[in-house]
């Protein structure tokens, strides 16, 4: 039981750190809040942004929280690999630099896993395999689909 948990803990810690580094250039890892009692202890994510001291993911800025959360979610993926991810405007509080890194990470991961993301920023769609426009007309939603250059109006069946 303890061995299973510690193996999970180490693995997620390493993977979250890998993705955090890809997104920010910094380091991240998991810590046990109470290392004496590993079976009951809470878990904290510690992040070290470039040029800054390490801090808990709870005490950082809005954009910093967004990149840390994405890194953690990706880190969890190692254990329970999903065939698709759906993100709804996770880039809302990110600046241009982090948004660009996020788009690059999503593109890279999309070779193995389907990544569907909602975004209002052009940067996120620059290297998309498919762009889906959703808009409202006469009180109902309509869809326009663009695939690498061609535009297809959603066929109303």
């Amino acid at each position: 039981k303890l061995a299973v948990f510690m193996r999970t803990f180490e693995r997620v810690s390493r993977e979250a750190g890998y993705y955090f580094n890809k997104l920010t250039g910094g380091e991240a890892w998991l810590e046990l809040a109470d290392p004496e009692r590993p079976l009951e202890s809470g878990v904290e994510m510690v992040v070290r942004f470039v040029g800054k001291p390490p801090r808990s993911s709870r005490g950082i800025s809005g954009g910093e929280k967004s990149v840390s959360a994405v890194a953690l979610l990706m880190g969890l993926q190692g254990l329970t690999p999903a065939d698709f991810y759906i993100f709804d405007e996770v880039d809302a509080h990110m600046d241009v630099a982090y948004t660009r890194n996020l788009a690059a990470l999503f593109k890279e991961m999309s070779r193995k896993t389907q990544i569907i993301t909602v975004s209002l920023k052009d940067i996120m769609g620059e290297h998309a395999d498919q762009l889906i426009g959703v808009y409202s007309q006469h009180g109902e939603s309509r869809i326009v689909i663009t695939k690498l250059g061609e535009t297809i109006e959603s066929k109303a069946g």
């Binding site: 803990f9 994510m45 929280k65 762009l131 959703v134």
Partner: protein
């Protein structure tokens, strides 16, 4: 088991016509103006995968999920189908594609179908669990939820880790 197509009709802001959304396997970006219906597409996917809580679909009651247009126009039922790619037979069904459908009937009941055959909700959940797919799992992040993930208390983060272990 990636998402190949979503068909929405009468669900939230999607009106009476059949809205067909084909999805690529790689990197898909959904964009458009505020209030267009982007998050409703994600709610539609969760709905089809068996999500029971109206709040998780950003509605007060399940009946709020049925399309209501201008001039009191209302759909009879809310219907969403999700077509999953099954070329690698990851789902224990011998077909290239598997279609999961859910219709919210006027009496408030939900009708679930796999490839057109009526099944129970637990049949759907059991089938999807073989591929780690659940209506509210870590791989679907709704709008505004990302800040809360970084603000999790140590106890909550521990629970999340235990869930995936």
């Amino acid at each position: 088991v990636y998402l190949k197509k979503i068909v929405i009709n009468g669900f939230k802001s999607f009106g009476l016509r059949r809205n067909v959304i084909p999805l690529e396997k790689g990197y898909v970006v959904i964009t458009g103006p505020n209030g267009g219906g982007k998050s409703n597409v994600i709610d539609a996917i969760k709905f089809a995968l068996g999500e029971l809580s109206a709040q998780a679909l950003r509605a007060s009651r399940l009946s709020d999920l049925v399309y209501e247009g201008n001039n009191g126009q209302r759909a009879n039922l809310a219907s969403v189908s999700v077509v999953l790619d099954n070329s690698e037979r990851a789902l224990p069904i011998d077909k290239e594609e598997v279609t999961i459908s859910r219709k919210l009937l006027p009496n408030g009941e939900s009708l679930y179908q796999i490839n057109g055959k009526t099944v129970s909700r637990s049949d759907i959940l059991t089938l999807l669990a073989t591929c780690n797919i659940r209506p509210s799992s870590v791989n679907i992040i709704t709008q505004g939820a990302v800040l809360g993930i970084a603000e999790m208390s140590p106890e909550e983060m521990r629970k999340l880790l235990d869930e995936v272990a």
